[in-house]
């Protein structure tokens, strides 16, 4: 089983990101489970969302305490919560930041990938909503089929957004994927 934990603030699409990851995994034939953990119900409050991916139905409802992947949508949360809690030696940590991993979290021994998701999203979508860009970065480490990733975005964002904006989100996802491939050495 692979476990993913997402940290961000209310209104940034953290829960949506968890849902899209899970839907893509489901489309790839896996049996995922995705759920949020809300703080108080308002924009800006810290939100955590969880995804678990396995080959068989996941029974346990436990939250994710030892993530294989950690995604941080809002770097300001680094100073508020201990987001690295429970990380393992090989946990892949993806942070939305234009700083370098060394400058952003000095002394941290985990594998940290910093990607300027704000910049990518502003350029392509026109808004600093970074979840689809971070999905692209995540997909550079967790292998999905491109078809499933694109379908997951369409399914999940389709109820609220126009086709034009959905296409931009798909483009942002691909651009982020390419950015990580270019700037980080993948295993």
């Amino acid at each position: 089983m692979k476990e993913i934990r997402i940290h961000g603030r209310g209104g940034q699409g953290n829960v949506k990101l968890a849902e899209i990851i899970a839907i893509a995994a489901f489309e790839d034939g896996k049996s995922p489970q995705a759920f949020p953990s809300f703080g108080v119900e308002r924009r800006g409050a810290p939100v955590t969302a969880f995804v678990k991916i396995d080959n068989k139905f996941i029974r346990s409802r436990e939250q994710v305490y030892h993530p294989d992947y950690l995604i941080i949508q809002d770097p300001s949360i680094l100073g508020v919560e201990n987001v690295f809690a429970g990380c393992k030696k090989n946990t892949v940590i993806i942070i939305n930041s234009d700083k370098s991993p060394k400058a952003l979290c000095p002394g941290v021994s985990y594998k940290v990938i910093c990607m300027p998701a704000n910049e990518i999203s502003l350029k392509i979508i026109g808004k600093p909503i970074t979840n689809t860009a971070l999905l692209g970065a995540f997909a550079a480490y967790y292998k999905f089929s491109t078809k499933s990733l694109e379908k997951a975005i369409k399914i999940n964002l389709g109820e609220r957004l126009d086709k034009e904006i959905i296409d931009k989100n798909i483009k942002a996802m691909h651009e982020a994927y390419d950015w990580v491939k270019k700037n980080y050495k993948l295993d």
Binding site: A34, F35, F57, Q63, G158
Partner: protein, 408 residues
């Protein structure tokens, strides 16, 4: 403006169809409930939104707006109004539905007793949530157990698949017995969780649950006038209450019967028989008893403990009302320790399910039965906590209730 709205609805429907084109689907629990309710085709849905039930009634409202849902949808001014409205609608002999939880369910209380006493087949989804004060929007099971004695059948699901299936069973039972049924799903833990489910087809549903046609004389009809909910004097009240008590108690057999029918039509079970599910109890020294989504976590914890040669099992309660004494005792009788795990508490006593197990087990077992409280107000229940319970029940010489993972 109107055009925009229409476009939005069409777009909405398109994506929903896209989502629903496989037999196995990946849905949010709340959305799955809305979908099954749409297929069950109630005539009237009346609701007041409350976290974490909101997604269910929002989805139903969207279905109504897009024309997918063929029901009347009434956004009421309170839960009290929603329940009252359904009482009236149900009394006219049509299928009805609402969802609520926590303070909303408590606000309905007076009407809930009336719905049961008037023998109206209303079905409610309770998205189980903690009760104020202090105010807390997260999951536990205090809300539903608080109206335990209202005369409703109360069913609890572990997974979103069970929740879908229990709604079908609920309407079948409600309409046969002329009794209301509450389907309990853990708020957030199930309502907000995406997981794979099989959504039954309309033909299958029609086979198991044909359109509701109440017998003449049991509903309000100008051609066949009747009075419902009239005064009962000391001459008759007790007999009416006795009949209600007996009908609910005996409904265990009907749950079993309809569960067999359910299996034939849908090809899957809800636990062992719609009443309980035993998990590795046969040789178990310690048996945990629980209801709802926590049973999934307990099953995983049991598998891990069994790898370390600990003989542990689970008895999952699906039907809390009626409480199927024989079915329950059958699995518990041989255990040395029975640890009852509650996400609620009867203040001044102990866990609500614990008291129930002690009553049913009276003179039936020599096992130590102890009450363990977990996960109040949304505290995450972990496998580690389940192991703590196993450790505590063996070590503790007293019979006192334990609060698990809770500082003094």
């Amino acid at each position: 403006m109107i055009l925009n709205k229409l476009e939005y609805r069409i777009k909405n429907t398109e994506y929903r169809i896209m989502k629903l084109d496989n037999s196995k689907q990946f849905l949010e629990g709340s959305h799955a409930v809305a979908e099954i309710i749409k297929l069950i085709k109630p005539a009237v849905v009346a609701a007041y939104p409350i976290t974490p039930q909101t997604h269910i009634v929002e989805d139903l409202a969207k279905m109504k707006a897009s024309g997918e849902g063929g029901f009347e949808y009434i956004n009421t001014e309170s839960e009290f109004a929603a329940a009252s409205l359904l009482l009236g609608a149900s009394a006219t002999g049509v299928r009805t539905y609402t969802a609520t939880c926590s303070q909303g369910l408590l606000l309905m209380t007076e009407v809930l007793f009336n719905i049961a006493g008037m023998r109206l087949p209303v079905v409610i989804t309770c998205a189980n949530r903690a009760v104020s004060a202090p105010i807390n929007i997260w999951n536990d099971q205090q809300d539903a157990v608080t109206i335990r004695d209202a005369g409703w059948l109360m069913l609890y699901g572990e997974t979103n698949q069970e929740i879908i299936d229990l709604h079908l069973l609920a309407y079948k039972l409600a309409e046969t017995l002329r009794l209301p049924v509450m389907v309990n799903m853990d708020g957030f833990v199930l309502t907000h969780t995406y997981e794979p489910v099989l959504m039954p087809g309309q033909e299958q549903i029609n086979k198991f649950l044909p359109p509701y046609k109440p017998a003449i004389g049991t509903y309000l009809d100008v051609k066949n006038p009747v009075t419902l909910g009239s005064l009962a004097t000391p001459d008759s009240y007790m007999e009416i209450r006795k009949q209600l008590a007996q009908d609910i108690y005996l409904s265990s057999d009907l749950i079993k019967k309809y569960h067999t029918d359910f299996k034939k039509v849908f090809g899957r079970s809800i636990g062992d028989n719609g009443l309980v599910e035993e998990y590795k109890t046969k040789d178990a020294e310690v048996i945990l008893v629980a209801m709802g989504s926590v049973c999934g976590t307990i099953k995983d914890a049991i598998d891990e403990m069994r790898e370390r040669k600990q003989k542990v099992g689970l008895l999952k309660i699906i039907s809390f009302r009626p409480f199927a004494d024989e079915e329950v005792i059958k699995h518990l009788a041989k255990a040395k320790y029975i640890a009852v795990v509650d996400k609620s508490i009867s203040l001044g006593s102990e866990g609500v399910l614990a008291t129930e197990i002690k009553r049913a087990a009276y003179n039936q077992t020599k096992a130590k039965i102890q009450s363990f409280i977990v996960g109040l107000g949304g505290r995450d229940v972990t496998k580690e906590m389940i192991e703590q319970i196993i450790f505590d029940i063996k070590k503790d010489k007293t019979n006192k209730m334990h609060f698990i993972s809770c500082t003094d």
